[in-house]
């Protein structure tokens, strides 16, 4: 558990919370992806007035998380990175490299998964 962390239970709650943070003037810093209980934990990191706020969302196996690039355009690179490295599929990505931001067709698939 990180400092100032909020656990998000559903995809719709995540979108609503991120929209709310943007309206409150939070800057998108980055997102962390890690393996957790057959699925993945996504930790969204936001910053305002030099303080971090973290949202943790558990992605169930087979679930396609919603892209935040429609709210914060800058989310597109990190989401594409996790499509490559963890084999996730983000729905609604502003620019979708379809698993080939870093990886070539001959690369190992989802090397961090």
């Amino acid at each position: 558990m990180l400092e100032n962390e909020v656990e998000i239970k559903s995809s719709s709650e995540l979108v609503k919370t991120v929209e709310g943070l943007k309206n409150d003037g939070y800057r998108y810093s980055t997102m962390i992806c890690l393996k957790a209980n057959d699925g993945h934990d996504l930790i969204y990191i936001f910053e305002k007035d030099n303080k971090l706020k973290n949202l943790r969302y558990f992605v169930k196996p087979g679930e396609k998380p919603k892209s935040m690039s429609g709210i914060y355009l800058c989310a597109l690179l990190i989401e594409n990175e996790y499509q490559d490295l963890f084999g996730l599929t983000f729905e609604g990505l502003a620019i979708d490299y379809k698993g080939h931001l870093y990886l070539t067709p001959n690369s190992p698939k989802s090397p961090l998964a």
Binding site: M1, L2, E3, K22, R27, Y28, S29, T30, I32, C33, L34, I43, I45, E47, N50, K51, L52, N54, Y72, L73, C74, A75, L76, L77, I78, L85, I95, H100, L101, Y102, L103, T104, P111, L112
Partner: protein, 358 residues
């Protein structure tokens, strides 16, 4: 009708490979698609085979320009997992080496930028002055590029009186030299003609685009990790965030020039307040839990996430580098720019592809 042309991955202004597919209407950019991955090294996976101390050496090798600050950020993040109290002298030495790192990085960038618009003599001057910083770093750390100063629990080398005298003497020589090149970067007709009003990002746009460092501060956002509690030692050193309001290539350049003076001031203050004592504290056991650590690299905020599971290896290391945060801003600033100005705009985010391609 539009034309697609490739900018990179090999291009005279890019020391490292990154590609932009530019969509042009005549000679004006109307669309951009960045393409990465030409030299991706998979270092976040590689640390699976290294223990948490060895990972320090991997992090220092992410980038040859901001190597010291990568090492410092990583070691500080692991120290958070241990709740370790690092000797104050070690923290001051980290600041001194980190700021020397920033000075040489900004001089390197100013040289590359001058080269980007064909001002070769200015490029030579910047890089000539940078050499004196590298010489000092080599003498005090034993290494010219990968300084290897920070380790979990403190620093690997102490500063002697000879080192301190050498740093102060170098700064006394360097400061007037920076004033000389500042006159050119700030006042020269050609430089202003190529940079003023180019690729302007408003304060709000730069903030919402998640930019970092001089790219963010050049648009009027006074955000610098050195003002946060993550690295609170800077508060004692009189740090002031450098901000420019206009949001164009000229503003981003001025931020970097002014930050050189700020770094010199910080180094002098750190030396004057350098406490006596130990430079390392023993760390025992293996890390557990999660931590996030941020520091301000020359290109902006770097974010390290570490997760330990009680073994010698970290379960997860994630690094968000400043260039990774700044690349999406090109999608917003390049449309409307003429093809001839694209290299200037790309250079003003100070792209470090080594960092991006961890």
């Amino acid at each position: 009708m539009t034309t697609i042309i490739p900018f990179g991955p090999q291009h005279p202004v890019l020391p490292e490979p990154v590609s932009l597919k530019l969509e042009l209407d005549n000679d004006v950019v109307v669309g951009v698609l960045p393409s990465l991955g030409y030299v991706h090294r998979g270092l976040e996976k590689f640390i699976d085979t290294k223990d948490y101390n060895q990972t320090t050496y991997i992090c220092e090798r992410i980038c040859g320009i901001c190597s010291a600050l990568h090492g410092i950020t990583y070691t500080k993040s692991v120290e958070k997992l241990f709740n370790a109290e690092v000797p104050e002298r070690a923290e001051y030495i980290r600041v001194i080496v980190g700021e020397l790192n920033r000075v040489h990085s900004h001089l390197l960038w100013l040289g590359l930028f001058a080269d980007g618009f064909g001002f070769e003599s200015l490029f030579y001057e910047c890089w000539k002055y940078r050499e004196s910083v590298l010489d000092v770093l080599e003498r005090i750390t034993g290494n010219r590029v990968i300084h290897s100063i920070s380790k979990v629990g403190g620093v690997s080398r102490d500063l002697t009186k000879e080192h301190i005298d050498m740093i102060l003497k170098m700064l006394d020589t360097l400061e007037p030299q920076i004033k000389d090149i500042e006159k050119v970067f700030v006042n020269n007709y050609t430089v202003k003609k190529r940079t003023v009003g180019l690729a302007t990002m408003s304060k709000q746009l730069a903030y919402e685009a998640g930019t970092a460092g001089p790219t963010l501060r050049g648009s009027g956002n006074a955000i610098d990790v050195r003002e946060t509690e993550d690295w609170d030692i800077y508060r004692d050193l009189g740090f002031k965030t450098v901000v420019e309001k206009d949001g164009d290539c000229y503003s981003r350049t001025k931020v970097r020039v002014k930050e050189l003076y700020e770094s010199i001031k910080l180094i002098r203050n750190a030396i004057s307040k350098l406490p006596n004592g130990e430079i390392t504290t023993p760390i025992k056991g293996f890390p557990t839990g999660e931590a996030i650590m941020r520091t301000e690299q020359p290109r902006g905020e770097v974010v390290y996430y570490v997760k330990g599971n009680g073994t010698k290896n970290l379960e997860r290391l994630k690094i968000r580098t400043p260039t990774f945060a700044n690349i999406p801003s090109l999608l917003l600033t390049l449309p409307g720019v003429k093809l001839a100005d694209v290299p200037i705009v790309v250079l003003t985010i100070d792209p470090c592809i080594s960092c991006t391609e961890r």
